[in-house]
Subunit: 228 residues, 2 copies
């Protein structure tokens, strides 16, 4: 759903090719020609995926992947490495560096999109367009709609994202801090208790259909969504 892909690639032709394909598929693309460039962009806001060329002028792709994985703020961003055929033998080392997946040049647009989608699904399913459903409650990111047994439910933007995150990570306890991080996003300075209020609003919206009982309070830990 309009996810942001940061493409770090020094070869203009390839960068263009990749970017065009991604944009055509509905992604927003940030282009960087080097790790240094990329770093400047990441400082302002976080992309949802990083496509990282292996060979880069200056800081290498591998080194940059390590740096991203090292910093708390960027740790969970999925990384896909672009490598030339000849570099394939280095895969093992690269994986240790923290890449989530590999793409060997040349690659087809279809393959590119598939990898991105798969990597998103694995590490950040809430950034995906797939509809989710739990016991009659259905959320569809594509249409931005929520239905409870067919009847539509109106949600504010934050409640929508909150519910989406819950539904893509059910059965697991999330602390208020984690929720702020992953639902409100990066660089937020908000009281933890604010989460409570939005939980309240979400529950209120789900009350009509009785789905509010899916949102459970786990005292002293956080909140959890029932998985079934």
């Amino acid at each position: 759903m309009n996810s942001i892909v940061l493409v770090v690639e020094d070869e203009p032709a390839i960068q263009e090719l990749v970017a065009v394909n991604l944009e055509h598929a509905g992604y927003r693309v940030w282009r960087a020609a080097s790790a240094e460039d990329a770093d400047g962009m990441v400082r302002d806001a976080l992309p949802d995926v990083v496509l990282l060329d292996w060979m880069l002028p200056g800081i290498s792709g591998l080194a940059y992947a390590r740096r991203l994985r090292g910093a708390e703020r960027t740790r969970r961003i999925p990384i896909i490495m672009l490598t030339a055929r000849a570099e394939e033998r280095d895969k093992v080392e690269g994986l240790e560096g923290g890449a989530d997946d590999y793409l060997t040049k040349p690659f087809s647009p279809k393959e590119l999109l598939a990898r991105i989608k798969s990597v998103l699904r694995r590490r950040a399913p809430e950034r995906t367009d797939d509809a989710v459903e739990i016991s009659g409650l259905r959320l569809d990111p594509e249409t931005r709609r929520v239905n409870a047994n067919g009847r539509e439910i109106a949600l504010g933007p934050t409640e929508f994202r909150l519910l989406h995150f819950f539904m893509t990570h059910p059965e697991r306890v999330h602390s208020r801090a984690q929720l702020l991080d992953r639902v409100w996003g990066d660089h937020v300075f908000v009281e933890e208790r604010t989460v409570d209020v939005h939980i309240r609003r979400l529950r209120q919206a789900l009350e009509a259909s009785g789905h509010d009982r899916l949102v459970e309070t786990v005292r002293s830990s956080g909140y959890r969504m029932r998985g079934a």
Copy 2:
């Protein structure tokens, strides 16, 4: 999870490497460049593991390990020693100093993580996110749920931690003092008798499914959980 690793290493490059890898794996890292540094940190709160370089300016790693093992408060913290290849012959002496394991430089991140996990599992399995099950009673830290043969059991925060500790250390008698230390935590001032009350509450919660018989009283010693 979210265990704290105290890294004591004077070589900045290695400290950085280790710290980054650990953080990537989800640990919280405290960095110290010397035993003296480390000691200051330990005074405030206790880490779950100590990674200790063999060669340190000032107090040596070996000496510091001995000190940690000597003090009641820090005695049970697992210690992993970092040694250079050339020092390998000293392994025996090191083990006598009380280290739980060794890592010979250079080492791979994978090996580092494996050792830490193994050492944690051995000395503090309750710091792990793995679900535990004993004769139909199942506790899952990730979802913060307890089931007795499928039926969910509600526990307060303290009872939950208590049960978790018991289940990860079955068949072993724990004194009230030990339980206070490891379930309530360091630096607590609570009557020992309070443990009795929580045992009572835990048993009460487990009564419905008959699992309360798993929690045994060992007169004049403490409590124990049956292992099967």
